[in-house]
């Protein structure tokens, strides 16, 4: 996300030579109006587009991302703000007094991090009221981008395990099914965090984690009368609920292209999850 590539409507070499010429002719060597305009546009645009990228990569829905970027740019009295969001890049064009600037920000990975979404949302609200200078805003966005997890990964895995155990009870299982599901889901979740930490591909992470969770659930629930609940619920921490809900919300709001890419990614994750489960069931002779 660091490598924001910046382009202008004019050729940069031409701009540099023009800047040199005008500065040479200026008796006191002050920056010209155009270069000052360019620098102020860049200062305004960079934190806004980076904040939008953080929000989108953390599972933010596209309409909120667009509105957050627009809010951050609102205090700069721009003539036009145009925002295009693709699945792996953000593109924003702004115009002020004839000067036009476009920035592209790549989005490297998608995940779910509501803490970052909340932080960007609050920052954008404050920026809309004009509370920050561009430099302060940039520093705050960078701080949000570098924020880590609030909860230790083991605690997060334990909470996901409890959630899966609760699902087993909601489906109709008893206390034993709750316990078995929770243990199996904990193992699966720890596998997922380990593989994500090792930067493996998301499809592989989902397959291996669902295999571990299902196999553990099958082994542990061997003597349970209601083992089907444990088998079904142990992998539910992997179901890509946020991308799928976001995808349908984007369809409803009219952002069909981004919605489609999110939905396809969600279905790919479910396919990977099912493949891992099928492998575990085959190994136990149940498929």
């Amino acid at each position: 996300m660091d490598d924001a590539s910046r382009t202008r409507s004019h050729d940069p070499r031409e701009h540099a030579s023009l800047k040199k010429r005008t500065q040479a002719s200026s008796p006191v060597g002050r920056p010209t109006h155009a270069s000052h305009e360019h620098a102020s546009l860049e200062k305004a645009l960079t934190p806004a587009i980076r904040a939008g990228a953080v929000m989108f990569a953390s599972g933010g829905e596209i309409d909120k991302v667009r509105r957050a970027i627009a809010s951050m740019l609102r205090g700069h009295a721009l003539d036009h703000i145009h925002i295009l969001v693709a699945h792996n890049a953000l593109l924003v064009t702004v115009a002020h007094q004839g000067e036009v600037m476009t920035q592209v920000q790549s989005i490297d990975g998608h995940g779910v991090d509501f803490n970052k979404i909340a932080a960007v949302y609050r920052l954008a609200k404050k920026a809309h009221r004009g509370r920050f200078t561009p430099d302060a805003l940039r520093a705050k966005v960078e701080a949000i981008r570098r924020t880590g997890h609030i909860y230790p990964r083991t605690l997060a895995a334990a909470c996901a395990a409890l959630a899966c155990g609760a699902f087993a009870v909601i489906f109709g299982g008893g206390p034993a099914a709750f316990l078995v599901t929770a243990v199996a889901a904990f193992l699966g979740c720890q596998t997922r965090f380990t593989l994500v930490g090792m930067r493996f591909n998301v499809v592989l992470v989902f397959s291996v984690s669902s295999f571990v969770a299902t196999y553990a659930a099958l082994v542990l629930s061997e003597f349970l009368p209601d083992r089907q609940y444990a088998e079904m619920a142990a992998v539910l921490f992997l179901v890509p609920g946020v991308p799928l809900i976001d995808a349908f919300e984007e369809f409803i709001r009219g952002y069909v292209t981004v919605g489609l890419t999110r939905a396809v990614m969600g279905l790919m994750m479910i396919l990977a999850l099912s493949a891992g489960m099928v492998l575990a069931l085959s190994l136990k002779g149940l498929w």
Binding site: G59, E61, K64, R67, A68, A70, S71, R74, V112, D113, F114, N115, K116, I117, A118, Y121, R122, A124, K125, H128, H149, I150, Y151, L155, A156, C159, A160, A161, L162, A163, C164, G165, A166, F167, V169, I170, F171, C189, M232, V235, L236, F237, V239, G241, V242, L244, I245, A247, F248, E249, F251, I252, R253, I270, L271, L273, S274, A275, M277, V278
Partner: protein, 154 residues
């Protein structure tokens, strides 16, 4: 009636547990966890009640997700946070993961066995999953579509 009350209370409690668990997994700020639990309990209780009165799973999900989304406007205004921080963990318990799994395994089984009944069952599961997801997403968006008309900023 007592049995229904007990079932609703049990599902609401475990709905709250599941919503909190997912909220932690999604790295939701600490001070919002109680609201996420409340959203999870409300969603699961309303869906169970609606289904107990004979409403289909899709409509019951729509009803519950509209209620959760409307409820999440209450905490939204005080700490100034997006409603989705509360409502998504609240409705995540209703995401049709089992239907999704059955659809995918059905298609994989059809590849092996070429049985038309398996193919039709898999399509049925897939369509049920998509309908429930649409109901969930539409329920989440509906209150904001009614309350904020085409805002360009936050």
């Amino acid at each position: 009636m007592f049995a229904l009350g007990a079932t609703v209370a049990l599902k609401a409690f475990f709905g709250a547990v599941a919503a909190t668990g997912f909220a932690v997994l999604f790295n939701t700020p600490r001070y919002t966890l109680l609201w996420c639990a409340a959203c999870g309990a409300l969603g699961m209780a309303l869906r169970t009640l609606a289904m107990a009165f004979g409403v289909g799973v899709e409509l019951a999900t729509l009803f519950a997700s509209v209620a959760v989304s409307a409820f999440s406007f209450w905490p939204h205004n005080r700490p100034t946070l997006p409603t989705h921080i509360f409502s998504i963990p609240g409705v995540i318990t209703m995401v049709p993961g089992v239907f999704a799994y059955q659809a995918m395994t059905g298609f994989l089984r059809f590849v092996q066995e070429k049985d038309q009944a398996i193919f039709l069952a898999a399509w049925h599961d897939l369509l049920t999953m998509l309908t429930i997801l649409m109901a969930l997403a539409f329920g989440l968006v509906l209150p904001s579509l009614c309350l904020r008309i085409q805002k360009k900023t936050l």
